[in-house]
């Protein structure tokens, strides 16, 4: 029964993709398809990465309010990006291939995730408000630090950071995409591998240990996967605070199941529909001047506020 809902979601995505690829296309079809195809690939990668990393994070923290971006993961990634330029210099950074540079930024984020967030998430059950507040303050802290570092960087070198931190849903670095697609697939495959263990982890630490899981080890592995997926999506599309929360909430609403075998695909499909469909609608069908990101953030922000006020962790 629940599987049927997944099929509906998949159909919805196919419709969104078709609209995106074909609507309002002018000129050479070969060019259009290739151009839009790349963008579509990037959008799908970003949506899957954000969706999966959010669901994973909510499982290991046993709550439905926190997400990696609310905790400041993506702001931290951008800080490491700016920090790298500051330490190596603009020229030094351009010497690195985009793959190597991404690798270093990911390694830093993974280190931070395991140390910083690894210690904090144990508190999630008892002190959810303090944790969310911490995440928001982390966001302010990392963004301020990034701004600070950007000003310390020589204006010439700053141009290097500018172009790469100008990521958005509208422009993707094709070179980066070549690395991000396999990495995203890797991360999602790893998450899928642990889907049954994740169902147990979702029950809580004590239950997981009682049922024989090495809770600490699995949580650290999942945090690494989350760091990888967040790195991928932030490098490609920049920070999007409430998108993950929006699609995770949608997935739970639609599937009404605790099983990750259903939730992970559902969240990815929902994210794809919102992103691809939303982009298609705002860009082509309606050609509104509302950037998709603003609408998503606004909706997601309302969901966030509702969840906090309702105070549920179901």
């Amino acid at each position: 029964m629940a599987e049927r809902r997944l099929i509906w979601l998949a159909l919805g995505l196919i419709v969104a993709v078709l609209i995106f690829m074909t609507w309002g296309a002018r000129g050479n079809w070969g060019f259009v398809l290739a151009f839009r195809g790349t963008k579509l690939l990037a959008l799908l990668v970003v949506s899957a990465a954000i969706a999966v990393s959010t669901v994973l994070f909510q499982t290991i923290t046993a709550n439905r309010i926190l997400t990696p971006s609310i905790m400041g993961f993506d702001a931290l990634f951008l800080l490491f990006q700016a920090g790298l330029v500051f330490v190596l210099g603009g020229f030094g950074v351009t010497q690195l291939s985009s793959g190597l540079r991404f690798g270093m930024e990911f390694a830093l984020l993974m280190g931070a995730a395991l140390h910083l967030f690894g210690t904090l998430i144990g508190a999630a059950r008892h002190d959810i408000h303090r944790l969310v507040l911490t995440g928001i303050i982390f966001g302010v802290l990392f963004r301020s630090l990034t701004s600070f570092i950007e000003r310390l960087i020589d204006p010439n070198e700053f141009a290097v950071v500018q172009s790469s931190s100008f990521a958005s849903f509208n422009s993707f670095d094709a070179d980066l995409l070549r690395y991000c697609v396999p990495l995203c697939v890797l991360g999602i495959a790893a998450a899928w591998h642990y889907r049954r263990e994740l169902d147990v982890i979702a029950l809580g630490r004590d239950h997981a240990i009682n049922l024989g899981l090495n809770h600490k080890r699995i949580v650290l592995i999942i945090l690494t996967i989350i760091a990888l997926l967040v790195s991928v999506s932030t490098a490609l599309a920049g920070p999007v605070t409430f998108f993950g929360l929006l699609v995770a909430s949608l997935a739970h609403l639609v599937m009404r199941s605790h099983r990750h075998a259903l939730l992970l695909p559902a969240a990815s499909l929902c994210a794809g529909i919102v992103l691809v469909g939303g982009q298609a609608i705002t860009e082509r069908v309606l050609s509104l001047s509302v950037p998709l990101s603003v609408a998503v953030e606004f909706l997601g922000g309302l969901v966030f506020l509702t969840l906090i006020l309702r105070g549920t962790q179901r």
Partner: protein, 319 residues
């Protein structure tokens, strides 16, 4: 214990203010003051106004924080975590759009009004939140403020005023010269009014029932508090830009050192607020001399770190 703390704070503040007078793009030593009229002119037009602006902003934002905490009865409420700053930005944006020719005073008045409305709505939301979850209040306030801020940004994006909004939402003192900051003295007056009514605000912090039974006109005091906070916030946002967390970290530190009797702690709060913002402003001027780093950015780091410490540091146990 309190006298050494106060004297030390006052001395530190004076020292910092003096230092601030001599830090800037153009090198100027104190001895030059005695010699040339060039140095005196620089002092009168730029350095002194700037230092005064920093002191006023830091002091009044800290006072606004304390008052808001009494109004909401929650330690973590302040103009940044209650949507006040963003509401003021909305006001000035609307005034700029729909009454571009109006005098600055009118626009600031309007911004104060929107700040008042925004804070008032927030206080109504706070009333409905469970008292057993104090951290829920700043959390809701931050999101509430972010939503208003997103609305402001969106409106500015549509009407091509994005540049102004980024100034209003991220404070810096680099544009302060004589003739462009005097309105801040008005917020100074607001802060003084708060001090004169300090005892009443302390009672207000005990809650509605306690206030009424002690003979206080609760609604009137509430309104006065909101007006004080809104005026201070609006004037800061329009002239300098928002500086996050000042009104939160300074009163909380003061509370740990001196307790919550406003009449005695308010001067300390004002002085500490001024001092802390001065430090950040000076750092912003020195670190990448002659370029400046906005005080909003520097305080974003400092304030966030102190906020985190306040969240996690164990309060001294009582036996």
């Amino acid at each position: 214990m309190s006298l050494p703390v106060r004297s030390a704070t006052l001395l530190a503040l004076l020292a910092l203010a003096a230092a601030s007078l001599f830090v800037g793009v153009i090198d100027m030593a104190p001895s030059q003051l005695l010699r040339g009229s060039e140095a005196l002119k620089l002092m009168a037009v730029s350095r002194l106004p700037r230092t005064l602006a920093v002191v006023l902003t830091g002091a009044t934002l800290a006072v606004a924080g304390v008052i808001m905490q009494m109004l909401a009865r929650n330690r973590f409420v302040e103009p940044t975590t209650a949507g006040t700053g963003q509401s003021a930005a909305l006001g000035i944006l609307l005034a700029t759009l729909y009454a571009p020719g109006a005098p600055l005073v009118v626009k600031m008045g309007f911004a104060s009004l929107t700040a008042l409305l925004g804070s008032g709505i927030f206080l109504l939301i706070v009333r409905r939140l469970p008292v057993t979850q104090p951290l829920l209040v700043p959390l809701v306030g931050l999101v509430y403020g972010a939503i208003i801020g997103a609305g402001v940004t969106f409106l500015a994006y549509r009407t091509d005023l994005l540049q102004y909004v980024s100034i209003w939402l991220n404070g810096e003192f680099s544009g302060v010269i004589a003739g462009r900051y005097e309105f801040l003295f008005v917020s100074g007056i607001a802060a003084v009014i708060a001090y004169l009514a300090a005892d009443r605000f302390s009672i207000l912090g005990l809650g509605r029932d306690a206030s009424i039974s002690l003979g206080l006109n609760y609604n009137q005091m509430l309104l006065l508090g909101l007006v004080v906070v809104s005026v201070i916030t609006a004037l800061t946002v329009v002239n300098i830009g928002m500086i996050p967390f000042v009104g939160l970290v300074v009163p909380n530190i003061a509370s740990r050192l001196l307790g919550d009797n406003l009449r005695s702690s308010l001067p300390f709060v004002a002085a500490s607020g001024a001092g802390l913002v001065l430090v950040c402003d000076i750092v912003g001027r020195i670190v990448r001399h002659p370029y400046e780093i906005p005080v909003g950015t520097v305080f974003g780091v400092v304030g966030a770190v102190i906020f985190l410490w306040l969240l996690y540091a164990k309060r001294p146990s009582h036996g």
